[in-house]
Symmetry: C6
Subunit: 267 residues, 6 copies
């Protein structure tokens, strides 16, 4: 493996509990280097899944947190000036394509649609990346794959992928894990007992039912891990839930009451 | 041929199955160096056609994936700074014009109308490209031709070519291939049997009828190739179709049901 | 003549057929160096006319294809960095003013109104161009003249010249040539017989009547030359007309039928 | 401790009076390095609390006053040019992550949502900061923590944190202190008697009741400290209150009368 | 006089015919260095008047054609890079202030209001120009004066001077000259007889009555000079008027007929 | 005192006539280094007051004319490139904070709200200015104070200070001086007799009553000083008033008649 990518290898197995056949489907997709789109709500484990798959496949993983300021140059690369003049620096996408990594564009809808267009020639049978500013045509390494994550709840007229982008990806749906599995995850990640972890999951399930009825998003697995960690450090469960589950996601007094009531029901 | 363009020659015949007289018409257009506009939906084979024609004519092909961030400088070139000061670097359009390539502006409506204006002097009888920043007037090489692709489904008040741009091009219409031809293409590109390929095409035809009735775009030939590749790798047809044909293009539950039903009808 | 402008001289007489007294009027205007505005639809011959006049007057012609990205610096010039530091590079307007060329701003309404303001001091009795960034006041060469083209069909609240700009120009109206003259032009430029050329002109005349009734612009002389060239290369007239006259300007099925019907009427 | 951060250590105990269990909760959150969000109105003591906690924990504190012009580069770092060419300069976020400080993003909603995205990989279990432009992946120091402040009164469709950002933080609510505690604070900070301090607090309480009824915000503790300081310097209480409490927050004559009446009620 | 300004001295008396006491009023204003605002329609002689006054007072004149792209730096100056590093270059306003010229901001409403703010400290009793980027405070030379031109017909909500800018100027109104005076001017500037000049003025007067009734602006004195020049060169009066007076200002067929009729009435 | 600030000291007492206890209140505010906001209409003497106070306190005064183009870097400083590479240049705010000046942000609402945020850490008890780009934390000099001016008449949804900014300032109201005081000021500043000065003030008072009834702003003291100066130079009072008081502030014929009538009433 090229030295440039050595830092991006994942050496320890990330903790990931499969919820269905997503591991096998991803492996099949990778075997034909199909670009992949992971769909699902915030904090349900999409990023962890990609880390797990990269570890399992033994491929380096380059992650890009997309944002609206991101330009095509941030992905592709740019000229930098040093003592000898301008020097080309590959961006994360060019690095991954040139030397063979999985390139993961996290929250891709946050990037402007027009930035996203630069991945097109890498996601059809050409598998090339034209570096127009450098005058080079990078032919993607055989290990290279593009993966994007996508939260359908954010879809709007302003922020969505173009059809011509979507059609370049296979898609896998993700959601919060089932009760027992999520309990196991929370307990494993925080050290709290299965009993406490189960109560936290029950609180989250109540909140997830409020999504669209006053809450923009439910309580994610990641938030449960925060609450469990506080409890494991000795914070009272009520205080931990208020601080980690309720206060962060709403300032509406009625909604706060509803969520606090859910907490006291279980603790 | 100039060294600068050697990388852009296509050495192996791209797999392309003509659907009508488009090959002969393009050859006639190229013989008078008429700028060409290829119209049709995403993933129906426009890019493959240009690659095939470039190979057939033995001319280098420089492809530019247009996007809204693209400036005139990205097409025409710019000054770069190195140890000796500023140095001019031709953009893809200038490179193609100077040394004689086919310059293919893919998804040209994605570029701002005002960027597109720089191709005007190359697309009338002058066939020149003024590099105003360099103070040079490039007279196009006799092999040079401009080709653009254009998806009429995207036409809107905000995104369309100007009349003064459109009038500079001859136009060819493209669409998804007829059933038997598309079946042959999917089978050839993926290795699945004609039977399975035909079923995939039938699924696509159902989806294409839903265009405008809940789907923005139908399922493209490219997507069928993805699904076929998964099946050829051993993925179950239902899972492969969900992952490659249905999940990527819609999150609407009803639409997903309709498409899933189409899949189970044929598999 | 200054070496800088030698490339911009037109050595061969451009083919131009006068339609009225426009040649004499332009010569009178040039004799008093009156800035000129050429008005008329896309592709009716305005650019060819300027080339012809520049050839006839023996003056170099610098053409600028205006676009909305164009800044005042693109016209006037800028500092470039080289090994000795910054170096001034005249833009096309400064070059023309300094050494004495006709400067032709094509499709001037495409430039932002505010960019256009830089030509003001060159288009009144001062005939100077202040290079504020360089701290120089260029007094225009006695041969210098500004010419702009302008398509009244594009006039809108957003895109129009300011009154204070318009008042600085004499104006000449252009339109498509009369039937016989246009037939002669098409035949001369493509090699097709007068009979075929006349039929093409008749098709165009039908389409021009549809302008404002479903078509944004009619079929231009330039498009007829494209169609004629294809026919001269052996393409069947119906296919040539569809490709060069109909497909480029509309995707509306009814309008396409109407235009196709016009084509079959004459061929 | 790294030299780079020595300037950011707080050597003297900041004056802070706890209003509840916020000190213990913050310590528990820090012990698991949970990113924290401090919610509350302008001038109620959020910044002072962070300074106090940084002093108490013995960690350096890097504060960033967020604004809409702030780019991701302002947080993460950029290349600077010096005699040897470009040199990387860590931004405050990279500095804090690399060497282990508490990084406090004050008034984080003022930054554009898209800038805020750069803190995502630092606020989940990855705790990394990718410096894409430098091609480096910074693994956060074990002392590093992100804290943001947030005024719920500013929430609007245009300016709010994304759900995917909010879910990465534990939250603590802040408000103006209770009457006696605020009186003690004002007296301590300004040197005026408890009697005068209490009257100032009473004026503020009246104004806070007008919030949403003609006033956008109430009178903050910070403003009371200003008024008290003026009185301690010998300015008459009425003049001090007009200058420090009333004139700054409203130009509406009725509202000024109402506030002036409140002042004269107590002084 | 400083060498920097020698190019901006006007050596020959500009042809200017006073229409009232504007010369004396301007001299009084200059004697107290009152900033001046010249109000009136396009092409009525405001620029010529400033040139005449500068010549009469023996002061150099630096003219800036304002436009929306103009930044404060374009007026004030900027750092340029050369072999020794950055070097400050005064903009026209700084040059005029430093060495003592009349600085004429032509069509000042075209500049953004916020750019205009940089003249404020030069137009009150401070008479200073802070060069913040250079860290210098320029005290204006005793000969320095600011003059702006302003077309009230352009006033709109979007484009107007701020009150805080307007209040810094004395104002003089300008309009087209009276019939006999304008006749004399046209005859003097073009060489045509007083009879022809008078007819041209009569045509203009008709057109000026149509302002607001289909014409945005009337025909200016400058346009009459254009028409007269063409006639003096031998162009037939009707053709000269169409080209120089009618075609440039309107494309409306009815308005063109009305103006053509006015022309034939007098010629 | 530091050499950097020596140019900003005011050596001669500015002419200022107090209208109330504003001098004492400002001195008390300065003694506790309270940031100050001066509110009032254009041209009523706010800037002169700050100059007077700076002279009285013996502190240097750095004035910044705020505008919408102003960036945080313009206030704080930036890196400049010279022969040895980049060099930091303090902006006016950093200069004042570092070495101890009064920093006066004139017409602060003209700056974008987000730029204004950079003064926050200097206007609470921290009194620091983080230079993020330089990686330095400037602790304000003990003499440093921020003063801003603010015209409530400009308040609008688009242009207003944020509450979190307003709450950091004590405020003083300013208005035009009373009749006798303004008469004394006009006479002192221009040399005209008290009789003439009084008449000018009477004209202004009439105009100020029209504010909001056709006039955006009344006639300011500064304008009266212009008119008086012209009269003192021998211009007839009617002409002087038209030029300095009426023509600059309105183009509306009725309003001009009303103001001209006011002038003839008194002269």
């Amino acid at each position: 493996m090229n030295d440039e990518l050595r830092d991006y290898l994942i050496h320890e197995e990330p903790y990931y509990r499969p919820v269905g056949d997503e591991v096998e489907l991803y492996e099949a997709a990778y075997s034909v280097r199909m670009p992949m789109m992971l769909k699902g709500p915030t904090g349900c484990g999409k990023t962890r899944f990609v880390e797990y798959m990269a570890w399992r496949l033994g491929k380096p993983l380059i992650t890009v947190a997309c944002n609206e300021d991101m330009t095509a140059s941030d992905l592709v690369g740019r000229f930098l000036l040093d003592a000898e003049g301008t020097r080309w620096q590959d961006g994360p996408l060019a690095l991954a394509a040139r030397f063979g990594a999985i390139c993961y564009l996290d929250e891709v809808v946050e990037a402007r649609q027009d930035t996203t267009v630069v991945i097109h020639p890498l996601t059809d049978n050409r598998r090339v990346l034209p570096l127009e500013r450098k005058g080079e045509l990078v032919h993607a390494h055989e290990d290279f794959q593009v993966v994007i994550s996508y939260n359908p709840g954010y879809q709007s007229l302003m922020k969505d992928l173009k059809q011509s982008t979507k059609q370049r990806f296979g898609a896998l749906d993700f959601n919060y894990p089932a009760h027992d599995l999520e309990t196991e995850i929370v307990s494993h990640e925080t050290g709290v007992s299965a009993d406490i972890a189960g109560k936290l999951v029950s609180v989250a399930e109540r909140a997830r039912n409020l999504k669209g009825h006053g809450l923009d998003e439910g309580i994610s697995t990641r938030m449960l891990v925060y609450a469990g960690s506080l409890i494991h450090k000795g914070v009272a469960p009520l205080a931990a839930c208020r601080m980690a589950l309720v206060r962060p996601i709403t300032d509406d007094p009625d909604m706060r009451d509803a969520l606090d009531a859910a907490v006291t029901t279980f603790f």
